[in-house]
């Protein structure tokens, strides 16, 4: 990552450490990336005048103009497909998909072109583009607004996939994703958009494709990403009150996976619970379970357990609290692991 810059054109230089929501942190990160590189474009439905339905791009069109912040036609394949052409032309497009459930019209372009052009051309064409995707449930929405499709993309060679869980990561990771010469799917935990945290804009950020231990513990390890990191941290806090010490790893990068911190943790705790709200079959959680049993076989005191969404279509919102992993389901899995 280049030296951090936060020189906003419309105000005095802000304090280095600010308390921001995830939404505002992404907004600031986008602004910083656009200031640092005139080739960075933001494009998507309603991202300009409106500032996006979640206001993630609020104010960017006003400050950078309509040619750098594009209110696009309502066409996801168009957003992704034209971003491919713009990237080939030398731009660094940041596409917003309004909700994860609407990404599928663009799935063909993502899988057939975005993921494969670098390989197809033996490295002659780079696709430095970011596809921002608000994902996950818990917001009481109608169908197609609460899903977790990240495994499709992690399963596709040529794509990189990350998810942030807190404002500081949101601020840095969006800039690192934009700096990447590989296409990056950037999954944003929409139910956490308005949770606050400190962002130090002078800090040296962790690498984009690195997992991180957020809480140390000795009895069992929880691994999560995106919206389930908060649930896992809360579970660890609750467990501590009962005298159980849980370690929490924030995965951050879903492709490539960075499991070294997980292996290290499991070798110490001997127990692993993977938490994800995506359906569990053939998922990121499955991959982690497989890799950990392969790498940490002799350290494991119990089978790797998964706490995930069910293998159903996302249910009507009145049922979503039953679908989504919560503190109790996580602790129940921890109990089963410890009782093995």
């Amino acid at each position: 990552m280049a030296a951090p810059t936060m020189n906003r054109p419309t105000s005095d230089a802000p304090a280095a450490v600010q308390t921001l929501t995830i939404a505002k942190a992404i907004n600031n990160g986008l602004r910083a990336a656009m200031e640092a590189n005139p080739k960075v474009l933001v494009m998507g439905e309603d991202v300009g005048k409106l500032g996006g339905v979640f206001r993630i791009t609020d104010g960017l069109q006003k400050d950078f103009g309509e040619q750098r912040v594009l209110d696009t036609p309502l066409s996801e394949s168009g957003i992704i497909g034209t971003a491919v052409g713009l990237a080939i032309r030398g731009y660094r497009p940041v596409c917003e998909i309004q909700f994860e459930g609407f990404i599928f019209p663009g799935f063909d372009q993502i899988v057939s072109q975005v993921a494969k052009l670098h390989f197809r051309t033996q490295g002659r064409l780079k696709l430095p583009m970011v596809i921002r995707v608000p994902f996950g449930g818990g917001i009481g929405a109608v169908e197609h607004h609460s899903e977790s499709p990240e495994s499709y993309f992690a399963h596709t060679a040529g794509l990189k996939v990350v998810s942030c869980s807190n404002p500081a990561d949101a601020y840095w990771m969006i800039q690192q994703a934009i700096d990447s010469d590989d296409p990056v799917l950037f999954f944003e935990p929409k139910r956490r958009y308005y949770e606050k945290g400190e962002v130090d804009t002078t800090a040296v950020p962790a690498p984009l494709h690195a997992s991180r231990v957020l809480r140390t513990g000795t009895d069992a390890t929880l691994v999560a990403y995106g919206p389930m990191v908060r649930v896992s941290l809360d579970a660890a806090a609750a467990a501590a009150e009962e005298g159980r010490s849980l370690e929490v790893v924030d995965l951050r990068t879903l492709s490539p996976l960075d499991l070294a911190p997980v292996y290290d943790s499991v070798r110490r705790t001997g127990r692993l619970v993977v938490v994800s709200e995506a359906p569990g079959e053939s998922s990121i959680a499955s991959e982690i379970a497989a890799k950990v049993q392969q790498e940490c076989f002799y350290s494991l005191e119990a089978p790797v357990l998964r706490v995930t969404g069910f293998d159903t279509p996302y249910p009507p919102s009145k049922l979503e609290e039953e679908f989504l992993p919560d503190l109790d389901r996580v602790l129940h899995a921890v109990d089963r692991s410890l009782a093995w």
Binding site: G85, F119, K160, D182, P256
Partner: protein, 398 residues
């Protein structure tokens, strides 16, 4: 070649081709496709080799230029026939013939200027030729040694796109970039983009979206649709109720149907359209009305869905013959010229054959390279495991 048979040989249960006759609907549709293209068809050189005037799209052409277009068409046809033969001999897994579409592709390809960009589908071997790509350079993907070998930046010719219609959106984005870069207008360094697709692709959502995006962003993009009447077995009537060029009106830009077997008309209309786009008056749709004289690919069998009479009718409208007749009538070329073109074509075919059989299978670890621009430790570990597995065999070979 490892196993081309699996693509080319019918399975044990497939009926012999002669057992399947075209349906009545297919015959009718095919006969419709042999019409003259309608009153709006732009034509400058008739199938009989007569120059005709057009109020909007006439062109001044010198003898030398026309000889050049003739030579281009003969050479790309010879290369196409050679590749087809190489597939039949098992040297290629597949070939996608351009036979019959030489005028459409050479007319469009020669209208492009060096600074322009082109996005092909997978049949544009004639356009590739115009962009300075040797015919043997497209063989790797059909032999299975690469997925496309030319440098798209150097040649300003995108890799072949196999998924139908994807490239139309990529081209729209590229053309938007040309506009954002200030390359549209009166300046001498203005640019345009030309995008190639077929009649079948016009049913794809990506083509519709490409039309919408290019229109609302005033992109300098020429949509060049080669309507060769057939999308594998489906006639154009299965894709559209109205002539394809008329669709442009609904998107708010001009649509022109040109005789795609007339290299002069295709060149004239393409030059005009590209210049309009460079000036900022894009996008524009060109429908080149032509005919796929061979199969969709070497794996296809047109006798199952169209009558050979149809092909015979289109042979009378051959894109190369009419130019030859005109050159002779005008006394713009003598037998020595035609002989020299034939000799060049043979030499090209020999070069192709030699390059083709010498295209080596790449080392297996190639499949792990250039998947990512910035690497991927998980994939690198997988590659190392693969290499160690191979190295475990005696002599390092399986």
């Amino acid at each position: 070649m490892s196993s081309p048979e699996k693509w080319t040989q019918p399975g044990p249960d497939s009926p012999p081709a002669t057992a399947a006759a075209p349906t009545a609907e297919q015959v009718i549709a095919g006969l419709r496709a042999t019409d003259e293209g309608g009153a709006d068809l732009v034509q400058l050189l008739t199938p009989e080799g007569e120059r005709v005037a057009h109020p909007d799209f006439d062109i001044d052409i010198t003898a030398e230029e026309l000889r050049g277009l003739y030579r281009d068409m003969v050479l790309v046809r010879r290369a196409d026939r050679e590749a087809n033969a190489l597939q039949r001999k098992g040297e290629l897994g597949l070939w996608v013939p351009l036979l019959g579409q030489e005028a459409a592709q050479i007319g469009a390809g020669r209208a492009l200027k060096p600074a322009d960009m082109a996005f092909p589908s997978y049949r544009e071997h004639g356009v590739a030729w115009c962009r300075g790509i040797q015919p043997h350079e497209v063989l790797g993907m059909f032999r299975g040694t690469d997925n496309g070998s030319w440098d798209p930046v150097e040649h300003r010719f995108h890799p072949y796109t196999i998924v139908i219609g994807n490239q139309v959106l990529n081209a729209a984005g590229y053309a938007m970039g040309q506009k954002f870069d200030g390359k549209v207008g009166d300046d001498a360094d203005s640019e345009a983009t030309m995008c190639f697709f077929g009649d079948g692709a016009t049913s794809q959502g990506d083509v519709h979206e490409g039309f919408v995006w290019a229109a609302v962003y005033d992109a300098p993009l020429v949509f060049f649709c080669q309507n060769n009447q057939w999308a594998i077995s489906e006639p154009t009537e299965r894709q559209s109720r109205l002539p394809l060029y008329q669709r442009a009106r609904g998107y708010g830009f001009p649509g022109i149907r040109v005789d795609g077997n007339d290299v002069l008309a295709t060149l004239a209309v393409s030059r005009w359209a590209l210049e309009e786009c460079r000036q900022g008056n894009g996008p524009i749709l060109i429908e080149a009305f032509t005919y796929r004289m061979d199969a969709h690919t070497t794996s296809d069998d047109p006798s199952r869905y169209r009558l050979s009479d149809e092909l015979e009718l289109w042979k009378l409208k051959d894109p190369i013959e009419r130019v030859k007749v005109h050159l002779v009538k005008q006394q713009w070329a003598d037998q020595d010229f035609f002989d020299s073109v034939e000799a060049d074509a043979e030499e090209l075919a020999i070069t192709m054959r030699e390059h083709c059989v010498n295209l080596a299978t790449p080392p297996a670890e190639r499949m792990f390279s250039e998947v990512y621009a910035e690497g991927n430790p998980v994939l690198e570990a997988q590659r190392d495991e693969f290499l160690a597995y191979h190295a475990g065999f005696a002599g390092g070979e399986r």
